[in-house]
Amino acid sequence: MRRLSWFNTVSLSLGFAFLYLPMIILITYSFNEGKLVTVWSGFSTKWYGELFRNEAFLNAAWVTLKVAVMSSSIATVLGTMAAYVMVRAGRFPGRTLFSGMIYAPLVMPEVITGLSLLLLFIAIGLDRGVLTIVLAHTTFSMCFVSVVVSSRLVTFDQSLEEAALDLGCTGFEAFRLVTLPIIMPAVVSGWLLAFTLSLDDLVIASFTSGPSSTTLPIKIFSAVRLGVSPEINALSTIMIGLVTVGVIGASLTSKRSIAKRQKDEQEAIQ
């Protein structure tokens, strides 16, 4: 077995300390009694209580969740279609433009995406609200979904689909019964990615939201712009906790399903 040299041990420990200390400090101080976030004055969970009594935060959290579920679901359907087109449709007029429009939003600065969508909504007279944020989030996250799904589709054995077609499936049936189950892990991780991108987005949501549709990041941003607040620390701790449980849970499930598949395959061989 290989052992880590002292240099690698030091660089890994320093690196991970750098990555995790700020978050650990933030979580610790969310349980601080006092209002000051830099002076420890005793353990308390009172900021969590304050948070759950704060109507504005709860409303914003609800709006954010609604937007994230809707936009990531639409983005998953559109992104999977786009990936299918990119990998399978062969040549068609305007293909270069299409792939350009898939990749450009990945690197486009958020301020530009936000500004351009806002100007569009104003030009066509669409009132800003939940709908406009959903449209905006769907547009940039479908590109991420399509990149994730197409990387799976490339390695997919096309003869399986052809076999289904030979056995009398229609094109859509072959997709639903053969292709979709195989690319499902990529579709699910695409959805998760779109969901977190939407939960997290401040800039594009600021441009495309109306007064009645403030999202959580907008709320957090305006609260922390001036200084540190223990309520935001409590909120951040809850969000970090949820993500950690989600990511570790998802990776354990996928590990188990890979192990199960390997076992099944081995049994099938025997």
Binding site: L12, G15, L19, V107, L115, V247
Partner: protein, 296 residues
């Protein structure tokens, strides 16, 4: 027929919500500011037919761009964004490379856990990760408390609301983007090459410099672009950690739009920013293609 539908749905969506909005930005950047709703002129009135289009076309000019070129605020903002993006990309490389190297040399059974530890921050909110530095870097913050307690300094260092805080913020939030491509390059590295170099009389350091470094070049390039491109247009980090003197173009665009309500100038700023980013984006894509070809 079905194939057509499959292509058309995502195609039309992207045309309507990506390309058209961008053309609108381009058009408004050529318009004049007006105290009205919408706050720019001319607006296209299709109802007037050909005459309407002609007067609309005649009303467009490059005035906002000459304004950008003549007011040195914008030049300084572009240059300072460029400087901040370059310095923080280098810093991210210096911090990220040893981590990626350590990961690639770690025992096999640790690697999934180490990978997970690098990716986990990426899933947590960007805003919260930037915010977490505020309590550490402020004048009475934890870093200053620690340094004073250790007797290293007597007066608190001013870090928050300066460019240094912006560098720290960028390095911190974009670190996974640097570590992952370098790690994937180092992981593929054949260790017998290093042994060969050492057998041929290289010291460990020379072997690293002559063998490992060049072979991880693609990863370094990919990671640097992945940090540089978003850092250039960054808004959240300078807004939360930077001071009033921190000039970054993303922040200027935001203020031009939300505080000054000058839409034509904001649009012109956006167009120029995009033009500046096209060069690194094209270079990045070339690098990716080269890598894909090398793998074949």
């Amino acid at each position: 027929m079905k194939r057509l539908g499959l292509i058309l749905v995502p195609y039309l969506w992207l045309l309507a919500l990506f390309l058209v909005p961008f053309l609108i930005v381009l058009k408004i950047s050529l318009s004049d500011t007006e105290l009205a709703i919408p706050p720019y002129t001319p607006t296209l009135d299709i109802a007037e037919g050909w005459e309407g289009i002609k007067t609309w076309w005649a009303g467009l000019d490059l005035e906002n761009y000459t304004w950008l070129a003549s007011d040195d605020l914008y030049w300084k903002a572009y240059l300072s964004s460029l400087k901040i993006a370059v310095i923080s990309t280098l810093l991210t490389l210096i911090v990220g490379y040893p981590i990626a190297y350590g990961m690639s040399r770690a025992p096999d059974e640790w690697r999934p856990t180490l990978m997970m530890l690098i990716i986990l921050p990426f899933w947590t909110s960007f805003l919260i990760r930037v915010y977490s530095w505020k309590a550490i870097l402020s004048n009475e913050g934890l870093l200053n408390q620690l340094l004073i307690y250790l007797g290293i300094i007597t007066d608190p260092l001013v870090i928050l609301n300066t460019n240094v805080a912006v560098y720290i913020g960028i390095v911190y939030t974009y670190l996974p983007f640097m570590v992952l491509p370098i790690y994937s390059a180092l992981e593929r590295l054949d260790e017998s090459l290093l042994e060969a170099a050492e057998d041929l009389g290289c010291s460990r350091f020379t072997a690293f410099w002559l063998v490992t470094m060049p072979l991880s070049k693609q990863g370094i390039i990919a990671g640097s672009f992945l940090v540089f491109i978003p850092a250039m247009g960054e808004f959240v980090i300078p807004a939360l950690l930077g001071g009033s003197k921190t000039l970054m173009i993303g922040k200027v665009l935001w203020e031009e739009f939300f505080s000054n309500r000058d839409w034509p100038v904001a649009s012109a700023v956006a167009v120029v920013l995009l033009l500046l980013l096209i060069i690194p984006i094209v270079l990045f894509q070339r690098n990716e293609e080269k890598q894909r070809e090398a793998q074949k």
